[in-house]
């Protein structure tokens, strides 16, 4: 078995548009790993050894698991001093429950305008948001030692647990660090109604704010990725550069091009320029901006950029981007929750037919696997890669 293709080699081949043994499959499992693995959300957030054990158990339940695993860095981001990537309980109103529904819920965000004046934040810094009157006073109830532990010590504990998981499961992590596309960060801190108004009344200021936020966001992700073991732990060199609502249909193609694209491209260039890989995760239906996205890997060495798509037409994406950017997606969340294994199998078969030719494709879920997806459907999805994806 010495010459067996490893999961990491299979994923690496896809990034590089090489046809290896078969199409890799990688459902983006987040909360479902805790749910099926039998731990609470509280345990998922606070006990990394329990999270990795639950992830291993979930892999068994869904038929051996995918070719890589999401190490759920959001749990890390949520707990540190000022939060990261918009997962910030200090200045934003994120509610984290202990249990899954119906007793609790997965983390939920209640937006409000935290940034009142762009110029003031850019001039005096984000620390001023600590003292913003709209910030939740609950922050001050938490112990400072707790914040400091999650900022400085916990990432190392977390990384050690995942390093062990990677070795035991012979499965790479999907990412080592995580950053948010700046336009989405502005949305978190400004709120949807205010941002929509800003886009119409002060677009240059929004653009300037995006530029201002980018550097810290990316550098922080590098730091995370190094702690997670970039260059030593398979997959830790990948920076997950994400956003939920920065493309159509949430914003027009014109707004995307003028206000989202500049810092999206700049961020990808920064990531690849430092020798990391950019896993760009974008929700929405980006079919109407594929002509813009085809420049995402422009000027960069091959095999360094992946586009993870939600509702986008994958056949069209393959036609426009297929020879430049590795594609990742997009088995529908609704199908995984409500459909049958036969329907999932048929959907995956079509997706593989549309996207697998020439390599550069990872069969995955749209956005993330819902926490309540049916295990038998995930099993069908994983099996479909061997069934229909042989090269």
């Amino acid at each position: 078995m010495k010459d067996r293709v490893s999961r990491y080699e299979r994923i690496h081949a896809a990034w590089n548009h090489e046809e290896r043994d078969r199409v890799p499959v990688a459902p983006l499992n987040c909360y479902i790993s805790a749910y099926l693995g039998g731990i609470s959300i509280r345990e998922m957030f606070l006990e990394p050894e329990k999270l990795t054990a639950a992830t291993a158990k979930t892999r068994e339940i869904i038929g051996g698991g995918g070719d890589q695993e999401d190490p759920n860095i959001t749990t890390l981001d949520h707990l540190s001093l000022l939060g990261k990537s918009g997962w910030d309980q200090v200045t934003l109103n994120w509610r984290i429950w202990d249990e899954f529904p119906p007793e609790g819920n997965i983390p939920s965000f209640f937006e409000k305008a935290i940034i009142e004046d762009y110029d003031d934040v850019m001039e005096r810094g984000a620390s001023t948001l600590f003292f913003n009157k709209n910030a939740s006073p609950d922050v001050f109830k938490r112990s400072l030692d707790d914040f400091l532990y999650y900022e400085f010590e916990y990432p190392k504990v977390y990384a050690a647990a995942w390093r062990k998981f990677v070795e035991e499961q012979e499965t790479p992590v999907m990412m080592g660090g995580r950053a948010t596309i700046p336009f989405e960060l502005v949305l978190y801190y400004r709120g949807f109604p205010q941002l929509v108004r800003d886009v119409m009344t002060q677009p240059d200021k929004v653009k300037e704010m995006c530029e201002w936020l980018l550097e810290r966001e990316i550098v922080n992700a590098f730091k995370q990725a190094m702690i997670m073991g970039s260059g030593e732990v398979p997959g830790a060199e990948v920076i997950f550069f994400q956003a939920g609502v920065v493309g159509p249909p949430y914003v027009s193609p014109q707004v995307f091009e003028e206000l989202v694209w500049p810092t999206l491209k700049k961020g990808v260039d920064m990531i690849v320029g430092r020798g990391f890989k950019a896993h760009v995760h974008m929700d929405g239906d980006l079919t109407s901006v594929l002509h813009i996205l085809q420049d995402l890997a422009r000027g960069l060495p091959p095999g360094k950029v992946l586009l993870d798509l939600e509702k986008t037409n994958m056949k069209k994406a393959k036609q426009v981007l297929g020879d430049k950017i590795c594609l990742h997606g997009n088995v529908p969340a609704a199908l995984l929750c409500m459909g049958t294994p036969e329907e999932t199998d048929a959907y995956c078969k079509q997706l593989i037919e549309d996207c697998a030719s020439g390599g550069g494709f990872i069969l995955a879920t749209e956005c993330e696997t819902p926490w309540n997806a049916k295990p038998e459907n995930l099993k069908a999805m994983i099996n479909s890669a061997s069934k229909y994806g042989q090269y």
Binding site: S6, T128, E170, G231, E237
Partner: protein
């Protein structure tokens, strides 16, 4: 870990140019303190006294 995996990791490691701690600190200071970043870094650890700069005019705890 098979030979192929090891080779990819070695190649990745050679290509990485992660930021230094000094660079991370500078970026973090710019993000936290904006135009006051240099001042905050220069006077550390006494820069705690500059916390006053973090309050917006009219919203200082001592304003009322």
């Amino acid at each position: 870990m098979n030979e192929g995996t090891r080779r990819i990791l070695e190649e990745t490691k050679r290509g990485l140019k992660p930021p230094t701690q000094e660079e991370c600190d500078r970026v973090m200071a710019r993000w936290l303190f904006g135009k006051n970043a240099d001042k905050m870094m220069r006077y550390a650890p006494w820069s705690f006294a500059l916390m006053k700069l973090m309050w917006k005019k009219g919203e200082e705890p001592w304003a009322n």
